[in-house]
């Protein structure tokens, strides 16, 4: 394939860039992702995952069944923050940094 061919449409990562990661020992989609941003755009690897798997397969001779799926995450498709922020008023797990400052006798511990 032409080396300049775009593999990740969102982040515009080329074949060549994917190839470089594999040459540096990367062998999963997520390795490629963290080093190039391939698959980090709005579609979250929904289009490029198969293309990258094929490139890894071609370069490492690993069978496709040994090239694991990319880690998939929520939200399953992009969603506005204000919509996500509905139906939740609890702050049980999310803390503010200042909460961690402990004061003892008028002084920081």
């Amino acid at each position: 394939m032409d080396k300049t061919t775009i593999i990740c449409r969102c982040e515009e990562i080329s074949y060549e860039e994917v190839e470089e990661v594999i040459e540096h020992g990367g062998r999963t989609f997520d390795d490629v992702k963290r080093l190039t941003r391939c698959g980090m755009g709005p579609c979250q690897a929904k289009i490029c995952t198969g293309l990258v798997a094929n490139i890894i397969h071609e370069h490492t001779a690993l069978p496709l069944s040994e090239i694991p799926l990319q880690r998939m995450r929520m939200p399953l498709s992009p969603i506005k923050l204000e919509i996500l922020a509905t139906n939740s008023t609890a702050f049980s797990a999310v803390k503010s940094v200042l909460d961690e400052v402990e004061i003892e006798d008028g002084k920081v511990r």
Binding site: D2, I7, C48, L69, M72, I79
Partner: protein, 359 residues
């Protein structure tokens, strides 16, 4: 919100599962991102065959109508224009109606999210006018819009050949079908011959060298046996095959195996179409890419198995129905798909990928 059965995806498999469960007295909720039920069937004008014996042969959009009418007779909740966002810690599924995100607690979940089209990359494949073959079909048969005047199709799956005919019918000139494999590998000999008979050039052992255009695709270079053939086209349809959509399974913590014949990575499941996550079932293309009739059968099997779990049908009776459906499934799909499916089920307890969130 609570329901007995939450079905994710209102396509043929999801609807088939809904019919089986709703007719046996369960409270069923279907969620679908689009504004109508039927999934991809809605824009399929081709004749669907074979279909399960309970249905007469008919076209895709007609089947969508028949299935939708069947659930209308029962109390099935339909959450259209809703999408799954993720999962809560207690196992409830988080849905959004674009105003809020809310949990749905279900006794059983059927994931019937269907298939995604795979890409084929070549220089400048990002140009406007270069679309998936599925997108071309949606434009023509759902939106009633001509995608262009001159089309080139990259790939020659059963589905791509159907869409090629549909493009021809509405007056799009199909300038060629480019297939990387040799002619001998063609699976749909009849459909291929029919298109060749209508004067559509097939380029086997060929691939797209490059697309060009100013702001949108205007011409493409096809490499045929080492020679470059330049063809003018204002629409290029990519058929890279399909693979199951796995996002929901992944969040649910299901394990996966790899079966090339079923479209690559697929969730582990057993003869009940039950995954290795408690209360999570699956159906349709999400359980392996197959033909429409087979997809309905998988939905019916999942539905029957849920009824058995929730005791709205006797176990012996469920087993009998399931056996019969499996027999029919064998006859409804390509031999290699069937064999892949059988192999996959045998490997149920030895997944390739599991515990994907445990580092």
């Amino acid at each position: 919100m609570e329901t007995d059965v939450l079905i994710i995806g209102g396509g043929p498999a999801g609807l088939a599962a809904a019919i089986e469960t709703a007719t046996r007295g369960l409270d069923v909720t279907i969620v679908d991102e689009s504004s109508s039920l039927g999934g991809q069937l809605c824009q399929q004008t081709q004749l669907i065959r074979p279909l399960p014996s309970v249905y007469q042969p008919m076209r895709g959009f007609e089947l969508a109508k028949v299935l939708t009418e069947q659930i209308n007779d029962f109390t099935v909740g339909t959450l259209l224009n809703h999408r799954v966002i993720g999962l809560y810690a207690d196992g409830s599924v988080g849905l959004s109606d674009e105003e809020k995100v809310f949990p749905v607690k279900a006794k059983k979940i059927v994931v019937a999210t269907g298939a995604a089209e795979q890409a084929v990359a070549f220089p400048k494949w990002t140009l406007p006018g270069i679309i998936t073959i599925g997108a071309a079909q949606t434009l023509v048969n759902r939106d009633f819009v001509m995608p262009g005047k001159e089309a080139v199709i990259v790939g020659s799956s059963d589905f791509a050949l159907d869409v090629a005919s549909q493009l021809l019918e509405v007056g799009v000139e199909v300038k060629g079908i480019v297939e990387k494999n040799p002619a001998a590998a063609a699976r749909e000999k009849e459909k291929t011959d029919a298109l060749i008979g209508r004067g559509i050039p097939f380029y086997f052992n060929s691939f797209i060298k490059e697309a060009r255009g100013n702001g949108q695709v205007e011409e493409i270079d096809i490499e045929v046996n080492g020679e470059i053939l330049t063809v003018s086209a204002d629409v290029v349809c990519i058929d890279g095959g399909r693979s199951p959509i796995l996002d929901s399974f992944y969040q649910l913590g299901c394990s996966f195996g790899y079966q090339k014949e079923l479209g690559g990575w697929i969730p582990q499941y057993n003869r009940q179409f039950k995954t290795d996550r408690e209360n999570v079932f699956l159906a349709g293309n999400a359980a392996g890419i197959s033909q429409q009739g087979a997809l309905l059968l998988t939905g019916m099997i999942a539905g029957i198995s849920i009824c058995e779990d929730l005791q709205t049908i006797r176990s012996g009776e469920a087993e009998e129905i399931r056996d019969a459906l499996w027999e029919e499934l064998k006859l409804s799909e390509y031999k290699d798909v069937w064999e892949g499916r059988t192999k996959h089920i045998e490997k149920f307890s030895s997944p390739v990928l599991k515990d994907q969130f445990i580092s």
